[in-house]
Amino acid sequence: MLKKYKPFLRAGAMDTLSYRFNILIWAVITVFQVACLVFLWLAVYRSSAGGMDAEIHGFSFREMIAYVVLTTVFNYVTFNNDTLWNINNDIRKGTIGNYLIKPISYRGKFAATSFGSLLTMTLLFGIPFYAAALLTLGGLGFLPDLSFPAFFVHLGLFLVAGLFASLLNDVIAYIFGVFCFYTTASWGLNSLKETLISFLSGTLLPLAFFPAGLREVVSWMPFAGMSQNPVLILMMKYDLAESLRCLALTGTWIVALELFAKLLFSHAIRKVTVQGG
């Protein structure tokens, strides 16, 4: 049953390999971006009432830097799919018709492709990058003391959280991709999606900094599970119970969004047949 999706999984892996080798450029962009944030946080903590030793919204300066570095690596390894662009392409070029007559699900094709690139990225870049980040941060004393048996449990939960984050990212990208049936502003849609994710997932700023009301609302949304929660699980800022609660919430959202995506797609596809391609 799942076997027919294997070619897409493979295609995802190959794509990732061919274009993620632009890694040098990525590294340069990232180093400058992380540096900018480090300077900003340095100024923030220096200016705070408690000075460099202050804890702001539960983050010490060192933890904040660790958080910035780890979310950056996490986002790079986990979020790499062209789902939105590919759907947009299929719609504009009319190739979507080819998939509708094949005995595979359109959604399944993208899920398989994304999973393929997640696997490749994790094996190829994830392992060395996480190792390097953790060792450097740990060596500089930027990580809390990791107590070892417990860390492996968190590492395991982190891997699950990473998989969930990738699935969530893919289904959200898919939903935005299906919106391309209704508008040609794929560029605007994509930037809307990216902004939404980077703001609400805690990439831009840990959600702890949000005002209480907003924070409460956002904590029930799916986005925190895409970046902040996995990283805080890895950093052991969440205890076991909190980690499991996060995973359960994210899992529920994945199911809910998949259902929504299904409904949306069947509505959108009716529009195509009206337009005649």
Partner: protein, 334 residues
């Protein structure tokens, strides 16, 4: 006047490995493969001529056209258009040439066609009177007036191609380069486009260089053809003499009883080739070398023909014959 002198273009392409390991290898070492897309060709096109530039896919047609209009620079040799090298004096030459690439449109996709023309009017600095006259002429010969107010993306392929042709002619270029202007079009639209090219050539004396795979285009339009194969010129001259050069070729198509097959039929002479096409037997021969009378007698006696049709070979057949001979010769070498 176009002068092409020892024109050569060599492309270097990195050789990519296959599969995952190949991809990794490509990262570390790059091997290049050189292809001589155009290989030392020479010809001259005088003003007012319509030249058909033909050859199989990958023979170097588009590469030559691109060098002639200045968007590719020759590896060696030169092209001059009225004395200017287009890849060096791009802007000056651009004012005097019009180009259509059949596969790509140069019109703006989302706006009504007329707006594209208005922009082109400004780009080429066409005066109001000239513009009005050109629009009349193009409206008539290409029949574009009807869909001037429609956005280009809503046009059919045939309409879009006519629009593109009109756009390339709007500044009254002295030379028109058409790269497969009839590709993918139906017979009626092709006919319309050919008439327009003829009209343009007659009315304004425009020189036209066109590539095509459609032999009817060639027979209808071109007084001269240049036949290209693997970057080299195979034939350059009038259509008629192309036919003559390959002799007085004729085909005799026979309806024969089912048991008569091309392979088993008793041969008449090595000068005669037999083949089966659409259930009929087709005999091809050079009437200067093999008497027609003899072939017909053979057809009746040995092949028990019930019906027959005699035809002179078409240019298309000639070109096909030449190209397949070339391919066969090439295959033998390998």
């Amino acid at each position: 006047m176009i002068e092409v002198n020892e024109l050569t273009k060599v492309f270097r392409k990195p050789v990519r490995g296959e599969g995952l390991s190949g991809m990794v290898k490509t990262l570390f070492s790059r091997k290049y493969e050189e292809t001589r897309a155009v290989d030392g060709i020479n010809f001259t096109v005088p003003d007012g001529e319509i030249v058909g530039y033909i050859g199989a896919n990958g023979a170097g047609k588009s590469t030559t056209i691109k060098m002639m209009c200045g968007i590719l620079t020759p590896t060696s040799g030169s092209v001059t258009i009225d004395g200017l090298e287009p890849y060096r004096k791009r802007r000056q030459v651009a004012q005097n040439i019009g180009v259509v690439f059949g596969q790509k449109t140069q019109l703006w996709w989302d706006i009504p066609l007329i707006e594209s023309f208005k922009v082109l009017k400004e780009i080429y600095q066409i005066s109001d009177t000239d513009y009005a006259e050109r629009m009349d002429f193009l409206g008539e010969v290409l029949d574009v007036t009807r869909f001037l107010s429609q956005p280009v993306r809503t046009l059919s392929l045939g309409e879009r191609m006519r629009a593109d042709l009109a756009a390339s002619m709007i500044h009254n270029p002295r030379i028109l380069f058409l790269d497969e202007p009839t590709i993918g079009l139906d017979v009626l639209v092709k006919e319309k486009i050919r008439r327009a090219i003829h009209a343009l050539n007659r009315t304004y004396g425009t020189t036209v260089v066109l590539t095509t795979h459609d032999m009817t285009d060639i027979e209808d339009l071109c007084s001269r053809i240049i036949l290209l194969e693997k970057g080299k010129i195979l034939y350059d001259g009038a259509l008629k003499s192309l036919k003559n050069r390959f002799g007085n070729l004729k085909t005799l198509t026979l309806t024969v009883p089912a048991e008569i097959r091309a392979e088993t039929a008793p041969p008449l002479s090595p000068e005669l080739t037999l083949s089966e096409e659409e259930g009929r037997l087709v005999l091809r021969f050079d009437a200067d070398r093999l008497a027609l009378e003899e072939v017909i007698q053979y057809a009746f006696r040995e092949l028990r023909a019930m019906d027959m049709k005699l035809a002179e070979i078409s240019v298309g057949d000639v070109v096909k014959t030449i190209l397949s001979q070339q391919e066969a010769a090439h295959a033998e070498k390998i």
